[in-house]
């Protein structure tokens, strides 16, 4: 009975993803489950459709910029909180994590109206900053844990020997946090790359990220091309997720993952 419930749930969870990937290899001009022959026809189709290729480029650019900014500012903030332990540190940490609690629809509406007021509608900078806010909780969490594992004694030793705090940060703390920094970067990249709802609301017509382009295309029609593009998106996301997991990213985060997407 309990086994049956689990198998049922696993089918529910995996079926749609498996279905998309399987369908993407169809040689037919419509959706038919390929059995005897697999074909890359729709992948060629997808890669020759400039709409998707351009959108992919934009998504990578956006995710890279947002992840770099989130990890950079997040590392400094996490360092400040962990090493100076200022009054209200817990409150500040809660504030930095709070975008997780704001529904994407709500933040999307707020950003849409905000960038319009600033004249930043359809502007990459506005979109990047919005993505920084969305992904920064993952950076703060990962880097906060990382900094707790970097022995503070080593930093003290460097400073006692006459190294300034800034120099110590750059020459001691930063190299010792390298693994955490890479994990945080990939985690943020993954989250920005997958972001759909907020971006649909706020991004202007010339800022169609890959998920937005997929959404627009799917609202209009569904053909095996979207299955091929979707499969590539799954491949990229899962590859990133596996690397993050191997680096220990989810283990740091697993207890909190339940609070994540909201």
């Amino acid at each position: 009975m309990i086994l049956a419930v689990n198998l049922f749930m696993l089918v529910l969870v995996l079926a749609p993803i498996v279905m998309v990937v399987w369908m993407s290899f169809t040689p037919a001009a419509y959706f038919a489950l390929p059995t005897a022959h697999l074909s890359l026809r729709w992948y060629r189709e997808a890669l020759s459709y400039p709409g998707f290729v351009d959108a992919f480029g934009l998504s990578v650019e956006l995710a890279t910029l947002a992840a770099v900014a989130a990890v950079g500012s997040g590392f400094l903030a996490a360092y400040g909180l962990a090493r100076f332990r200022p009054r209200g540190a817990a409150l500040l940490a809660g504030f930095f994590a709070s975008p997780l609690l704001v529904p994407s629809v709500v933040f999307g509406i707020a950003m849409l109206q905000f960038v319009n007021r600033l004249g930043l509608y359809n502007n990459l900078a506005g979109l990047v900053l919005a993505h920084v806010v969305v992904v920064v909780p993952y950076a703060i969490r990962t880097l906060g844990v990382t900094l707790r594992t970097v022995p503070e004694e080593l930093e003290w030793a460097a400073m006692v020997l006459g190294s300034s705090r800034l120099r110590t940060l750059l020459r001691v703390t930063l190299p010792l946090s390298a693994r955490g920094l890479v994990t945080a970067f990939l985690f943020c990249f993954l989250m920005s790359f997958s972001e759909v709802t907020m971006t649909i609301f706020m991004a202007g017509p010339s800022l169609q990220t890959l998920p937005v382009r997929l959404y627009t295309y799917m609202s209009d029609r569904i053909d095996p091309t979207v299955a091929a593009v979707s499969s590539l998106v799954v491949l990229i996301s899962l590859a990133l997720a596996i690397v993050v997991d191997l680096l220990g990213g989810f283990r740091l985060d697993r207890g909190q993952a339940g609070r994540a997407g909201a």
């Binding site: 309990i2 086994l3 419930v5 689990n6 749930m9 696993l10 529910l12 969870v13 995996l14 079926a15 749609p16 993803i17 279905m19 998309v20 489950l33 500012s73 400094l76 903030a77 400040g80 909180l81 100076f84 200022p86 009054r87 500040l92 504030f95 975008p99 609690l101 704001v102 994407s104 629809v105 709500v106 933040f107 509406i109 707020a110 849409l112 109206q113 905000f114 900053l129 920084v132 806010v133 920064v136 993954l190 997958s194 709802t197 649909i200 609301f201 998920p211 997929l214 799917m218 569904i222 299955a227 979707s230 799954v234 996301s237 899962l238 697993r254 993952a257 339940g258 997407g261 909201a262």
Partner: protein
């Protein structure tokens, strides 16, 4: 000393604080402000203040959309609540390697783009989709079932999509239980059912409640799945918000919708914390 510390930490916190004040606090505050102004053909009339945008939400047309959203969210969260214990208990008892794999499988919808899942469900549920084809070939149905472009499709797709938000906290709580508790109760002659009711349930219910609150919020604010699997005539609040903000360009009303969604979210989190704390207190007794 304290002042000195606050002064020295400032440069480290400043870059992120500026980004978050400028592009997070300010936009949300601006939305709250916009929601209190009347909309005019020329745009937002910032000189006047009104509650009109909030009163409009009570209009039967929009009230119905709110009710549908709540109905769908309640159904999905209720089914999730029923499935959570069987799944979490099973996963927590697996061998470590299998357990990690099972958890990865249950998390995968969180890692995979919502649109991909929506496409998958479309291929499965539409009238000439896989499910209907299988049922027809098995001779179970004569005509295709209407599994999507209605609330059924939205519910089916949302359940696995947001299941991990309830599963993960519950699974973590179950793993944290001391197995000796169960053995002790069992050796005293308590039946497995009673052990679950008297020991496991009170100790892990707060975690499940916390997870269900997140699950409910995610259901209530989902956008792509209801849009692609529900469609016209089955609007939920997020679809209404899209229409109002990006098609009708009535930003004050759109802002009011955002404020109400955020208020419900924060209220639910608050209430959830209270209920979970009370459940934890009852469990301790």
């Amino acid at each position: 000393m304290r002042h000195d510390s606050a002064w020295r930490v400032a440069p480290y916190l400043l870059p992120l604080l500026l980004v978050m004040l400028g592009f997070y606090v300010l936009p949300l505050a601006g939305t709250l402000g916009d929601s209190l102004h009347p909309n005019t053909p020329a745009g937002i009339d910032a000189a006047h203040w009104t509650l009109h945008n909030y009163r409009r939400i009570a209009d039967p047309l929009y009230g119905g959309i709110f009710l549908r959203t709540l109905r769908i969210s309640v159904i999905v969260t209720a089914i999730t609540a029923l499935l959570a214990y069987p799944v979490a208990i099973f996963v927590a008892r697996l061998r470590p390697r299998l357990e990690a794999l099972a958890i990865l499988a249950y998390i995968s919808p969180w890692l995979v783009n919502t649109l991909v899942k929506a496409l998958g469900w479309t291929l499965l549920l539409r009238s000439n989709g896989i499910v209907n084809t299988l049922l027809r070939d098995a001779g179970l149905i004569a005509r295709p079932l209407h599994l999507m472009l209605n609330e059924t499709g939205v519910v089916i797709a949302l359940i696995p999509g947001h299941f991990m938000f309830a599963l993960l906290p519950l699974w973590t709580a179950l793993r944290g239980l001391d197995p000796a508790l169960g053995w002790a109760a069992g050796s005293l002659g308590t039946s497995p059912g009673a052990v679950f009711r008297r020991v496991t349930l009170p100790l892990t219910l707060p975690a499940l409640i916390a997870g269900l609150v997140i699950n409910f919020i995610m259901n209530m604010t989902a956008f792509a799945v209801p849009m692609l699997l529900g469609g016209e005539g089955h609007e939920v609040v997020s679809m209404l918000a899209y229409q109002v903000n990006l098609v009708l360009l009535d930003w004050p009303f759109g802002a009011a919708l955002a404020v109400v969604l955020l208020a419900i979210t924060l209220l639910l989190i608050r209430v959830g914390q209270g209920v979970a704390a009370r459940a934890a207190g009852a469990g301790a007794r």
